[in-house]
Symmetry: C2
Subunit: 301 residues, 2 copies
């Protein structure tokens, strides 16, 4: 990545994150279920790269809209992403005790409250879109449809289910192939990243062609993101990642480096990213989204 593109990413983050976090970090301050609100807030505040909200707001800008138009969708995406991390970290799933450098939700609040905190965040994602009267009812219900499809059994949750079953297969010595790995990633990580870009399009009233281009770009970015995630898990230190690393291989999890080798995985990453960027060229204002897409493919954590 050029120094210029890097500056653009930094400038966009400095501009967009305060808009996002001003609304995002304060939603669960009242209500009767105080302990639950604390548990939800704990994971929202744990940080992270805010990849999905930023992609969503940049997609709105890429078609000439305002980032603020996509704010409720951006919040909903991060609620869904955060709930999925809480549930994935549970002992019955990936059994992680460290996330973004902090103890995971169930370690702090107990398993029962952590399950409920995830349920609460998932539900609130739809609430925050429904309550955004700055968007027409048509755009809001379209956003709900896109998000529910991407997050549900045909998308993210389905991918997590296959991934869990895959670990069981691996332990039983059953073979895997690249096609199966791609299905899991398309559902588990890809669907919500694709939706991030598509929701920016929906919120900013994209034309059909613009939405189609962003949808395709989002799918490819989702795949690129996952390949880089696998590469990082195989090559980074725990300190850099803020979570346990090398655990994919330790658990016999199928990953791109395992299937394609490290160099093969890097080639696949570059090729996928370039295909995504091609899709963005026809849009009126793609430079920030393009820079961010390159940044994601080259990120160090």
């Amino acid at each position: 990545m050029t120094a210029q593109a890097n500056d653009l990413v930094r400038a966009d983050l400095d501009r967009l994150l305060p808009i996002f976090e001003a609304k995002y970090l304060l939603p669960f301050q009242s209500g009767e279920a105080v302990r639950l609100a604390e548990a939800m807030q704990y994971s929202l505040e744990a940080g992270g790269k805010r990849v999905r909200p930023v992609l969503c707001m940049l997609a709105a800008e890429a078609i000439g809209g305002r980032a603020e138009a996509a704010l409720s969708c951006a919040m909903a995406l991060e609620f869904i992403h955060t709930y999925s991390l809480i549930h994935d970290d549970l002992p019955a799933m990936d059994d992680d005790d460290l996330r973004r450098g902090k103890p995971t939700n169930h370690v702090v609040f107990g398993e029962g409250q952590a399950i409920l905190a995830g349920d609460g965040l998932l539900t609130e994602a739809f609430q925050v879109i429904a309550a955004d009267t700055s968007l027409s009812a048509e755009r809001r219900i379209e956003a709900v449809a896109v998000l529910a499809e991407a997050a549900g059994w045909r998308g993210m949750v389905g991918g997590q289910s296959l991934d869990l079953l895959g670990e069981a297969l691996t332990r039983a010595g059953k073979p895997h192939d690249l096609e199966h790995l791609q299905v899991i990633h398309r559902l588990k990580t890809g669907a919500l990243l694709r939706a991030s870009v598509e929701l920016g399009a929906v919120a900013a009233a994209a034309t059909c062609a613009q939405r189609q281009a962003l949808r395709k770009a989002g799918s490819l970015l989702g795949l690129a993101f996952q390949i880089q995630d696998d590469i990082l898990d195989a090559t980074s230190s725990e300190e850099e990642m803020g979570k346990r690393v090398g655990k994919d291989e330790g658990k016999g999890k199928i990953t791109y480096p395992v299937l394609l080798g490290l160099e093969g995985a890097r080639r696949a990453l570059n090729e996928t990213t370039e295909r995504a960027l091609c899709q963005l060229q026809s849009l009126p204002n793609p430079s920030s989204l393009t820079a961010w897409a390159r940044f994601l493919a080259q990120r160090g954590n």
Copy 2:
């Protein structure tokens, strides 16, 4: 309940349940995450009284609308109710191995898949409303808002959190009072039952006054339902209920019979039901909903 009212309840069930179940029982037959779809389907098909969908469709009829207008809301309600049962039954929550006379979801599919089946059903509830193009975008997004508010941290999930914490308080010998019990029930059971009635109003385009009356009636019916649930847990056999009974007291759970005595709880049940029925009197076509409300308060399981 008079024999005539009983006949009306039976006739309405015979009329409404086939409409509901024809759509409801078949949604997860395809897709890539086959095992997850099986897990979701398993709990949907496990039966139950379909209280929420029937209340929703009868509320639509009570204001002169058609039951079919409320079908997607009815499905969404039962998806949410079913997901909440799957998660409540988990070892980290109420730790139940029997539900509706069948092994609970996590006993059959494992804890990880059961958590995901719940997540999938919760997400699909919003999808099924968003996809119902027979309702205007305005009504669909209003339905999403009502459902998310009732099911989320300000409603059902918040109530379950307080209930879990309450069990811990009881084990620690801390005192409870009626007010605290009512908050838990208003959130945990009441919010979704109120939403059932309110969603029928939203789907069938109720006037403001009609919606207000149904909302109040729904709140009171939710409370009555919970009082009767507590009474049944204290007095019924496991065979009648299809789940473990007497466990509330065994776990030191606060219930209406514990706080008010069995006779006091029965008086509270009757009084609450009558107040709910008062709210329905002004509606154009309340007889079926009225009969069903009486039936619920007198049900044997």
